[in-house]
Amino acid sequence: MALLNPSRAAAALALALVAGCGDLVRPSDFVEGDPDQLLVHAVLQAGSDSAAVLLSRADAGRLIHGAQVRLLGSAGQAMLREVEGLEPCTLYYVVVDGQREPQGVCYAGAVPGGVRAGAAYRLEVELPTGERASGHTVVPSPPAVQGVADGVRVAAREETGVLVALEPLPLKWTAPPRVGVRAWSSRSWPAIPDARCSALLYRLESDSLVVIYGTDMEVDSARVVPVAGQCYVGEQERTRVDPDSAEVAIGITAYDSAYIAYTAEWDKGIPETTARAGLQGAYGVFGSAATTVRRVRLVPQGP
């Protein structure tokens, strides 16, 4: 049998292998994306009388002007107009060489009858280039919150300018099915509206305090410990603590399922179905939220 001649077999195999080794795999590779990929981001908020939609591209420097953006609800249709700056859409900006670099173009406008819980909305986007995108959402109802009365005063201890509630608060809530609930907190200083203050919310788990970073709450109650953090006015830190300055908002926000899926954590890439949550024709999200807020005032106790 000719094949069993070792030298012939080896020669044939060597030839086959050399021919097949052309496409050696490199240790890493770069897959170019489409810089013109359309991105649409909007989250309607129940109770708001306006809506804002951020249009951008994968290459954030490629701005989208002149788009037709319509929001259709049972109460009518809203034409959202391009606005100067990004503020109705986002307070977040990127500074490059001391200049604010736009990350997209914001389209905003009033919604006839306001954004109502339980109502369905359709978003239609048409670009001058002919690209189209559309989306659909049903606004959830705000969670019903018990256990913490609005405006309640809570005893707190002061530690280097930070106020920590002495006792955890028994927070309970009920949310409609098929929505995700997130708890969060913020601190405001009504007497100084320009003050930027931080706040944290901890959840008491057995004997440990676990900070809530706005992640999904798969439970319907938690013992929470609000913490009023530092405040800044301009670049100046204001560490003086008084009861007036220590108002912490504890928020429970319900999101529609599209938004919850969209915000799942992914390390190594987002599934395509999740990357276009509630949308067709673009990556991004068209979702909705409804929030219930309880304001508590942390009152420092004496030593």
């Binding site: 496409d23 991105l39 989250v43 994968a58 954030a60 977040y92 599934p271």
Partner: protein, 779 residues
Amino acid sequence: MTFTPLVLLAAALQAAPAQELAGAIQGTVREEGTGAPIASATVSLPQLRRSVRTADDGGYVVRGIPAGTWIVRATALGRDPSQSIALVPQGGILRLDLHLTPRPVPLERVDVQGHPQAPAPLADPAGPGPVRLEPEALRVTPALAERDVMRAVHALPSVAAASDFSSAPYIRGGSPDQTAITLDGIPLYNPYHMGGLFSAVDPDAVQSVDVLAGAFPASVGDRTSGAMDIRTRDGGTDRVRSTGALGLISARMGMDGPLPGRRGSWLFSARRSYLDVVSKAAYSADVIDGDFPYAFRDAHLKLTWPTAGGGRLAATGYLNREGIRIAPRDSVYDYQVAHMRWGSRAVGVHWWRPLGPDRRVEARAAWSSFGGRFLEAQRVRDYGAQRYLPELDTVLEAGTRLHDAQLAASAAWRRGAHRLGAGFDAHRYTFFQDVVPLSQDYRQRFSTFRLDQVASTVALWAEDVWEARPGLRVRGGVRVLAAGERGTAFMPRLGASWAATPRLTLSAAAGRSAQVMHSLLDPDRVLASVVAYDALAAAPRLIVSDDLVLGAAWTNGATELRVDGYLRRVGRLPLPPHHVDPFRHALVHPDSFIAGSARARGVELLASHRRGRAGVQLAYTLAYARRQQDSLRWTPRFERRHSLDLGAWTGWGRGGEASLRFAAASGQPYTPVVGTTRRWFHDPTTGTLTGGDRVEAVLGGYNSARLPAYLRLDLGVRREYRRRWGTLVPYLQVVNLLNRPNVLYARPERDDDRGVVGTRITYGPQFPAIPTLGVEWRF
């Protein structure tokens, strides 16, 4: 022809019934040097014109021999004949083992038909049957560092590997937990070293490996994908022999010989790695930057005794231990302590006895386990002295344990054209897994988890193999597996084989199988393709699989060709929650399994040709595997659509042997990048969006693309140097001779460069070119 000395009556004599005046000769025919049993050898007594064939295990019995002195001759294909003189006692049994020296003989065609007395556990008398890996294949398959049973099995078309790193078997779309690995019939769990880089079975002790990939006869169970039985050889009954090897990583040594009084035999082998010792010495001498505090060892003991009536009792013990011990090197900076020990153990006793020419009984009792314990601790800090104290604070404890106690018995008898069999197989499994984080930091990273389960199963089976007419065999049987609250599976098993021509046999088999245990690993995690160890637990309900296999086998003696086509459907398969990201989620899922299903189909071809000292074996597989959970379907990442494995070997010079193995296969499935996006998130405190500064990859359909094709060439060269005192065999092996960077995974990375839209993909490589050498000996 060799002529061995007179065999004395000191050999085992056993009392026979008083009415029997004739005696018997019983023994095993083995290969000289290796001690491997020789099946289908002819043992004859020319003076009496009597002859018998040896069974699969080389055993034979010649009954009805008058007391006296008789010449006993043994012959077998490819071996020099051997002759002995036997003194047969009146009414007694003489134990006589015969040894034949290999001598290749080119023949045009030889048809050999054996009549096994003690069939292998996976034998299928009427169906496609198992594929057998002979010691020759194990010897000539190039491997990493040393010969490896599991690696050699991967050359068979039914068996696939998930990566170069793992030797765990994936059979016909099933994950490793769906294949039973047994050692002389005793279940083995995780018989691997170094995460699966090596198998933990001494290759010198292996006689053969049978792989049966579904459509089992009624006697085989209880897994849904495959069964792999590693049969070890018996020790020699004439003298003590030794085998062993010295490799780059470990050394092994085995000895075997007759038990006192030459009643039976013993075999013992042991192996230990010395990476820890060598690296520690090198580290102490400042040759390397750190040591490698890992070691493995394994041992195998087998005892065999002939029993009354031509029966046999065999006891097997198996031990496999591994460990890592990380200790601080100094008290100023180093405070991490980690101890990890794991391994498997097994003991078993097997007894069988013929009750006349047409009846046989056998029984087995076995206990097998796998366990491991992991402890991580930190030394207590003495802040005043700026150093760490010897006292430890444990920060994490974890463990795994599996026990399997087995009791089985069966009987087989012949009635006319029917061969009937029935038996039971009972197991009691205990599964234990725990993870206990003890520090604040670890409590946030790991959840406390504890799984403690007991599952008992009893399988009853009965089967009839009907020789409907010459060349046509039909088997029909049933196996019932009762697993208490986990359900009862009624499993019909059917098969048929038809010798259409003297060279061509067609076969078909179908049946249902079930298993109670399942893996806690997520098979789609990349890590599961690298690490072979499995963590097992009891499934909420029995996993059930339906198989259909059609086969054809053709042989002309030197050339064998076998083609099998199969269909498989698995139901109630516990699958972890489906994750798109194979890197992110935990490898082990202690809970939250969801019942899913699996389907597999394919065609397998195995061809081999032998000529003199040369041979070639070709295996090709076309396979489709799918898994489904709710409405989601995907291809598991271990599936290779096409795979081809070519092995060839040839002798050179006097005692030299060269071999190669060439493997080519489709790339494994992975999830491709199909776009890029930036994600903005809702900030409820301001009611606006935030984020959006990072380019992120968008992934396409799960496992909808394939990695680049797999290609690997391994080469082995060995040469025997025979001396009067024994034989030395130095060897050199090169794995992935072409240094082809076969891809294990493709991982998209976030690219935070604002000016670039795209995704960087990093590829995980498999084996580079690895040359290894060593020396084997036997005397």
